[in-house]
């Protein structure tokens, strides 16, 4: 066990311990704050339901992230190729990023119907800008010497994109992915809650809130936290494999010669 695993575990344990302590020591009422031990035991009692719901929400978030990534690669490549397109697209992307998407969930549900489509649409939409900006940054940052070199043998635009610009944007895309994971899960949760034909955690959460079932609501929150942790771990693993060559992925080590 190394420090990179132990330290976060200790952090979480201390956080939950303090929370538990505060709830037990002070006489705070359960509908304001309940002890983590109580939430966890409720979650374990209903593990099957929550696991099924978490699976649905996880798929929604993942689907939204992948849609966002694909669209952003196209949009970002176009933006990197033309500064006119970049300037024209930027304000729209920023609008998408800063406006509260909760406000238009109902409209999108009316438009696309209930079920999975509006969840994927909104999740994809809100995650797209960060990926697009990351694509542009990464592509612009491609090594000028390598660009000149590829130009010197008349490499096509497509070859430059595929062999140089896209790999160059991987590090910033992973940074955006870490940022987008939280956003994707929250969007999936809220849109699930905003339409009634889903089995996701958002649905459990919304129903629990409406019926004042505090344990069920907080268990959904904990399940979301676990899901987020799982997503970030997954991204870390993929990142370590895909970016083994990048400065960010290696400890300082002596070089040859």
């Amino acid at each position: 066990m190394n420090r990179r695993i132990i330290a976060p575990v200790i952090g979480i344990v201390v956080f939950l311990g303090l929370w538990e302590l505060i709830v037990r020591a002070t006489d705070v009422r359960p509908f304001i704050l309940r002890a983590p031990s109580r939430i966890v035991s409720y979650l374990l009692d209903n593990a099957g339901d929550y696991a099924r719901a978490a699976w649905v929400t996880g798929i929604h978030a993942l689907g939204g992230l992948l849609i966002a990534l694909v669209v952003a690669l196209v949009v970002g490549s176009l933006m990197a190729a033309s500064s006119f397109l970049e300037h024209a697209t930027q304000p729209v992307l920023i609008l998408l990023q800063v406006t509260p998407f909760v406000a238009y969930i109902a409209s999108v549900v009316l438009w696309l119907g209930s079920g999975t489509p509006p969840v994927l649409f909104i999740t994809g939409l809100v995650c797209m800008p960060a990926f697009a900006f990351a694509t542009v940054d990464g592509m612009r940052g491609a090594d000028p010497a390598a660009r000149e070199l590829l130009a010197s043998v008349d490499a096509s635009r497509w070859e430059v994109l595929w062999r140089l610009r896209l790999p160059s944007s991987l590090p910033s895309l992973f940074t955006a992915a870490r940022y987008n994971v939280g956003l994707a899960l929250i969007a999936a949760y809220l849109v699930e809650g905003g339409n009634f034909a889903n089995e996701g955690l958002g649905n459990i959460g919304r129903r629990a809130a409406a019926l004042n079932e505090g344990d069920a609501l907080w268990a959904a929150v904990f399940a979301m936290a676990l899901l987020g942790t799982l997503f970030l771990l997954l991204i870390s693993v993929i990142q370590r494999m895909a970016l083994h060559w990048h400065v960010s992925q290696r400890p300082p080590r002596p070089n040859w010669g």
């Binding site: 010497a145 070199l149 010197s152 008349d154 096509s156 070859e159 060559w245 040859w256 010669g257």
Partner: protein
């Protein structure tokens, strides 16, 4: 079809290229970078251009490599314009920064120029493996650039250019970022690689001893706008080893270059 491919083979079989520059000028806005310049570089010769920083050497190189148009005048590489030579992959470049792709291994980096615009690859294009072994990187084929020293990275860049089998090699201060000891080493490696291969080499440098040690001919440029102050033939015997620098003739030639540089600054 048969005729076509034999023409291609013929073009590539002459592994050298004559460069003819006539009345070439380059102006950026109002700023003249190259004054009317005419010169001929014989096929198979190693020619250095030396001059102060910002004198337009790199611009000249980029024009010859077809990466930038001239403002007026013409450049001819054998029967082709630089743009045509570029699209036929007949110009191999070694930039100042090695420009290795960090996600490719040494071997894959050495192949990079063969992996793009593949239609223009010479028919005798071979895997750069043997060249990598020749420059002492045989044990590092699967290493990544960040695992290499600066000198090793620049050796990969050399192999990457040579693997193209292009008749013209253009090098823009390829050793400028290296330490003195590594530079001396690279000089010997480059001389060995180029001698006997017959390619024409256009070599841009700031270093007087580097220019004299490597070249058949040294062109000395003035400060901007670039004018050629001197055209010095280097009559040192080949093959040249590191010891060529002890030769009194070498010392005398270096002095000639230095005086021409001083004249160009005045």
């Amino acid at each position: 079809m048969v005729a076509d491919s034999s023409i291609v083979e013929f073009l590539h079989s002459r592994a050298m290229s004559r460069i003819v520059v006539r009345d070439l000028t380059k102006v950026y806005g109002d700023l003249p970078v190259i004054d009317p310049l005419s010169l001929t570089i014989e096929p198979g010769s190693f020619v250095s251009i030396i001059g102060p920083s910002g004198c337009g050497k790199t611009t000249l190189m980029r024009i010859v490599a077809g990466l930038e148009p001239a403002s007026s005048g013409m450049v001819q590489l054998d029967d082709a314009t630089p743009a045509e030579a570029r699209s036929r992959k007949r110009v191999a470049m070694v930039p100042q920064q090695p420009g290795l792709l960090p996600w490719r291994t040494v071997h894959a980096n050495a192949r990079l120029l063969l992996d793009v615009n593949t239609a223009a690859n010479p028919p005798d294009a071979t895997d750069p493996m043997a060249l990598l072994e020749e420059v002492g990187l045989g044990d590092f084929l699967d290493a990544y650039p960040h695992e290499l020293s600066g000198g090793m990275q620049q050796r990969v860049a050399l192999v990457r250019a040579l693997a193209l089998h292009a008749p013209l090699l253009v090098m823009d201060e390829p050793f400028a970022a290296l330490d003195e000891i590594t530079r001396a080493e690279m000089r010997v490696i480059l001389a060995r690689l180029v001698e006997g291969r017959g390619a024409t080499v256009l070599f841009i440098t700031h270093s007087i001893s580097e220019a004299v040690a490597l070249s058949d001919r040294v062109l000395v440029s003035s400060t901007r706008p670039s004018r050629m102050m001197a055209d010095i033939a280097v009559d040192l015997p080949r093959p040249r080893s590191a010891d060529v620098e002890d030769d009194p003739r070498f010392v005398a030639l270096c002095a000639d270059v230095r005086h021409a540089l001083q004249a160009g600054r005045a």
